[in-house]
């Protein structure tokens, strides 16, 4: 056990911090607060280019695939620092989809997709959920039928975030309608500009754009199927573990509590100081202690990954804990800041540019997204303690 960064890790963190000091400009932060990650403006595009130059998209990829071959702890440190700084880090294409291609893809899949991903040129929208297949994902009905050298795809996907920005759909489809539901699913890479794709925006409560995407007789080459047909379920459930690990870094939580501590010490627009209230002080200390635990959960998960384990329970615990903590931070902040905490981001008097009222609206996503916390609690009971499955 070692709770301190070693010399190499310290140097790594310093390298990241100095990169962020140079590249995270006020324009970038402004763009991020206005548009999030889903509609990147010029500053975000420029930032991603510099990130690609560093080779940091392929941070944990093996050297043979053009990556830097760094371990999960190094990746974790990078994600933490990026989230703390509010910078757009390597996204799901890099952290989740690419490793799946490396592990399960055909030789052609690897040649065709990995290099463009490493250069930041290939960006996917993840097409899993459907109107009737959400938490019960294996019930998905979008189908792909073989026709000569092509797959013909029909159906629709929902909560398809980033479709407006992606170059490809990473699409889960049914390729064997007669097999048991978990055994007839495949993953196909579909260029987003293929004829027959329609994107309908859905705007969330947090102003974040997600989409419903329709596929009508969309044709892609047979070779775009990832790995082998009908093995998609085992590929993507592996990826969900990685995705949860990547999604649940506590860097943004550490930043939120640090920002709140700073706000609470100074006078609000009405002249009061939150820390003069003993309740507020107790709440701040509690949030600080909880963020500490969240950070440790992430470091433990990445340490276990580095030791060659698949820490399903640890990552699941971390996902539930961080997502619920995010909501509690936003709730505590909006109570502590009073009416001024509700001000919209473009109001000049809004504390921290309205960050906390926005966080209040964005926090629900990660409680039900990437595996709803209720199902994940089942996962903990069943995987950690062998409690019985009951029909899932």
């Amino acid at each position: 056990v070692d709770f301190q960064l070693d010399e190499g890790q310290l140097r790594w963190r310093e390298e990241i911090r100095s990169f962020l000091r140079e590249t995270v400009t006020p324009q970038l932060l402004d763009e991020r607060s206005r548009h999030g990650s889903e509609n990147p403006g010029p500053a975000t595009v420029e930032f991603r280019r510099k990130l690609g130059e560093k080779g940091w998209f392929g941070l944990t990829w093996p050297v043979e695939f053009g990556g830097l071959g760094l371990g999960p702890v190094y990746q974790h440190i990078l994600m933490h620092e990026f989230e703390y700084a509010g910078a757009p880090g390597p996204d799901l294409t890099v952290t989740s989809v690419a490793p799946m291609i490396m592990r399960h893809g055909t030789e052609l899949n690897k040649r065709e997709f990995l290099q463009p991903i490493a250069r930041g040129e290939l960006r996917v929208a993840v097409g899993y959920s459907e109107p009737d297949a959400g938490t019960d994902l294996a019930s998905l009905r979008t189908r792909a039928e073989p026709d000569g050298d092509e797959w013909v795809i029909n159906g629709s996907k929902i909560w398809n975030s980033l479709a407006q920005y992606a170059t490809h759909e990473w699409l889960c489809v049914r390729t064997d309608p007669d097999a048991p539901k978990h055994r007839g699913i495949s993953v196909i890479m579909v260029p987003i500009d293929s004829p027959g794709i329609t994107i309908r925006p859905l705007i969330t409560w947090a102003d974040f754009q997600t989409n419903e995407v329709f596929f009508t007789d969309v044709r892609v080459p047979r070779t775009n199927l990832i790995g082998e047909p009908n093995k998609g379920w085992q590929y993507i459930t592996g990826a969900l573990d990685l995705e949860r690990g990547a999604l649940t870094n506590a860097g943004d939580l550490r930043r939120a509590v640090d920002d709140l501590l700073q706000l609470a010490r100074g006078p609000l627009p009405d002249g009061t100081r939150p820390i003069d209230d003993p309740d507020a002080r107790a709440t701040l200390a509690q949030l600080d202690a909880d963020v500490e635990a969240a950070v440790l959960m992430g470091l433990e998960a990445s340490s276990l990954l580095e030791a060659g384990q698949i820490p399903t329970v640890t990552v699941t615990t971390e996902k539930i804990f961080t997502s619920e903590l995010r909501q509690r931070i936003a709730d505590a902040a909006t109570r502590m800041l009073g009416m001024s905490g509700l001000l919209a981001p473009d109001e000049p008097l809004a504390p921290a540019n309205g960050k906390f009222q926005k966080l209040y609206r964005s926090a629900p996503l990660l409680r039900f997204g990437a595996g709803t916390n209720e199902v994940l609690r089942d996962v903990i009971a069943q995987r950690a303690y062998g409690m019985p499955r009951y029909g899932r």
């Binding site: 600080d288 202690a289 209720e374 019985p388």
Partner: protein, 381 residues
């Protein structure tokens, strides 16, 4: 940064767990709580001596094992599982305290503590707030030594202990009031001890001193001969708190294991109650709070073990451990229903330990005050 236990540490813990399973049964724990028991587990004590546990974190020159407080923390984690009797803990804590606060003249006593020949206890801080280091005893200089007056509240195992480490405030003729550390040997016929009947049956007493004479040689002089300093005392308090947190983590994990075994076996409506989602979610929540407690406690003992005061890490660990252990026992009562509620079954033994350790040294609320202070949200204490 590497939060993974080494194979050696896992093996070490397994051997401790086997030893405690053999010599520290719930039946023993139950018998020691009885009012007519003196709280001394003779067979367990011999097993611990044979395993070198008493000298684990003490130096080779005193017959110790030269391991660190982190390894001693692993013992506390296993001790928490088995509800290791408090007299073992207070003796280990006395060793940790004497190593930090004593001078060369206490080498012999350290050696005796390291081998388990002496039983020890400490009263070095407010038992309800370990960050409060103000002595409750006063000391008057008299004939080259000291006369002590006052009461120490809530001393564990005072009736059994051969030695007691405590502090006093000086007054009288030798200049301004200051704190002195004292290494007291049990006199014949003994201290004035009033045993207290308390929730966990853990041998708490009030110890009263009335013109109690202490030779000058029994002062704790510190390694540089300048006496006990606040920062040494603060480190000692935090070391003991971090060890206690490790005990709480082990106890909480053991309660979850017992709970899961019960709900898998117990059937209602024709199926094990473990198959109900409501039961699974309660267990998952136990696990989540346990993970937070385990990680923060391990972090605290690791930093203290490196000689750091680690006030922030200790405060955070105590906040998590106090609430986690308590709620895990209370939710275990919920899941085990009547079967966990009767005194014939053992769950209440852990529930009592959880409540005791929640409050001992300071509750989560107390620890939150320590953290507020660390965060600069409140002024100097």
């Amino acid at each position: 940064m590497r939060i993974v236990k080494t194979a050696e540490h896992q093996e070490f813990q397994r051997s401790l767990r086997d030893m405690l399973a053999d010599s520290c049964s719930p039946a023993l724990v139950r018998s020691l709580k009885q009012p007519d028991s003196n709280g001394f587990p003779a067979r367990l004590w011999e097993a611990l001596r044979a395993a070198g546990v008493f000298g684990l974190a003490l130096d080779k020159e005193h017959g110790g094992e030269d391991a660190t407080l982190y390894e001693l923390g692993l013992f506390f984690e296993e001790g928490g599982r088995a509800l290791c009797p408090s007299v073992v803990y207070t003796t280990l804590q006395a060793g940790v305290a004497l190593r930090r606060l004593g001078g060369p003249e206490h080498a012999e006593c350290l050696t005796a503590l390291a081998s388990g020949e002496l039983i020890g206890t400490t009263a070095l801080w407010n038992p309800s707030d370990a960050a409060d280091l103000r002595p409750t005893l006063s000391a008057r200089p008299i004939g080259g030594g000291w006369a002590l007056d006052g009461t120490l509240p809530f001393v564990q195992n005072a009736e059994l202990a051969d030695v007691l480490l405590t502090t006093a405030t000086t007054g009288g003729t030798d200049g301004p009031a200051r704190m002195i550390g004292l290494f007291l040997r049990r006199p014949e016929p003994g201290w004035s001890v009033r045993p207290l009947s308390s929730l966990a049956g853990d041998k708490q007493s009030h110890v009263t001193f009335d013109d109690f004479r202490v030779p000058a040689a029994d002062l704790l002089t510190g390694h540089d001969g300048r006496g006990v300093r606040q920062d040494d005392l603060r480190w000692t308090a935090n070391a003991v708190l971090a060890l206690q947190c490790m005990d709480m983590v082990g106890g909480a994990a053991c309660v979850i294991d017992q709970t899961v075994a019960y709900v898998k076996m117990r059937e209602q409506f024709g199926r094990p109650i473990a198959s109900f989602q409501a039961a699974q979610h309660l267990v998952a929540d136990m696990r989540i709070t346990l993970d937070a407690a385990r990680l923060t406690a391990t972090q605290a003992i690791w930093w203290v073990s490196r000689g750091e005061t680690a006030m922030r890490q200790v405060a955070i660990a105590k906040m998590h451990c106090s609430e986690a252990y308590k709620w895990i026992t209370l939710n275990s009562h919920q899941l085990q229903g009547g079967m966990g509620y009767v005194r014939d079954t053992d769950l209440h033994l852990w529930s009592e330990r959880a409540k005791l350790t929640e409050v001992l040294g300071g509750s989560a609320g107390t620890a939150r005050h320590w953290l507020q202070h660390e965060l600069g949200l409140t002024g100097a204490r």
